[in-house]
Symmetry: C2
Subunit: 202 residues, 2 copies
């Protein structure tokens, strides 16, 4: 910018920090900062408060790896959840997506990523040791690998299957198939092929 101090260093700093939020770039961060300043009482004040509370209260659950205001988190301590199933996900966002679907009342384990040797992410960088540790007491009878259907995700799933093989626990993965509401014409061949192979009685 030709004249970076157009509106004082405080506003420039706010814009620079907002630009680091995924989904906002330098231009939309300026627009966001202006909107926040204009809607001071309705938006800026409550958002600053909510962020302050998040700074003070939110941490990572030492059991499953999700983020919450308590440790262990509300999901890990919920007695109504099925203790015999454990869903393994890559990321907290995936855990949230499964919870929104509300298909299963189970507990989770967040890996924190996928194996990626080129990026220096090996088994030690993921929450794999803590997963094996959690499964030692024999309470969990089924581990559902809800890992993304990407190359890295599937590599990680295979690695986990090897690691858990000695524990004599049933290991399952999400079904491949046609998305609900999806049109066949727009689907890739891999998905269609898997959906045909896994066809069910109508």
């Amino acid at each position: 910018m030709a004249n970076p101090k157009v509106a004082g260093p405080e506003i420039e700093r706010l814009i620079q920090l907002l630009a680091k939020i995924p989904g906002l770039g330098p231009r939309s961060a300026r627009r966001a900062a202006l909107h926040l300043i204009k809607k001071k009482d309705q938006l800026l004040v409550p958002l600053a408060e909510a962020m302050g509370i998040a700074v003070d209260k939110i941490g990572v659950c030492s059991t499953c790896g999700t983020v919450d205001t308590s440790d262990p988190c509300a999901i890990c301590t919920d007695p109504r959840r099925d203790q015999t199933m454990l869903v393994v996900v890559e990321d907290v966002a995936d855990l949230w997506a499964l919870e929104r679907a509300a298909a299963l009342n189970v507990r989770y384990h967040v890996l924190g990523g996928t194996l990626s040797p080129l990026d220096g992410i090996g088994p030690e960088e993921l929450n794999i040791a803590s997963l094996v540790e959690r499964l030692q007491d024999g309470e969990v009878q089924e581990v559902i690998l809800a890992i993304n259907a990407t190359v890295e995700g599937q590599t990680t799933a295979h690695f986990l299957t090897d690691q858990l093989a000695s524990l004599n626990i049933k290991i399952t993965r999400l079904a491949h198939g046609v998305p609900v509401g999806g049109e066949l014409d727009y689907l890739d061949e891999g998905t269609l092929s898997q959906a045909l192979k896994a066809r069910t009685q109508f």
Copy 2:
């Protein structure tokens, strides 16, 4: 959402507030919240601080209507700026855009919008009275209307021209023409027609 309290009310509130920022929707607000929580020390803490400072310090300049940490703002009090020209803009964002272009070292007047009778925005809702007031002392010799080239913007420009007619001040507007770097093939007929009419000696 089927299970809104998946991650505690504090995180849900943060997501709801982030979703009100222009450029972020409900889905990207969740992603933003997760990113902020994960980058707590690098991003969430400094952003919460910057917002707190913005809440405490940033206000509207009572002279020109822009936002700044001082009133009158740094631009209005800058003695090196040309006191004989005043640039009228719709919004603070437009002022920032002109300052980034750094084409003129002048002062500004922010209208706060455009006339829009259907939305109930008449002359009283805009900073027009304060503009007329500012021009009374005769120091300003040229008013540049840097108002958007929309129907509402041009209506507002005509209204302002009528209001300022009795003051005997030169009123100018931004030139229409081909954007720098623009290709003729992609330009609308109105712009091309104006660019031809206002052609200059090569």
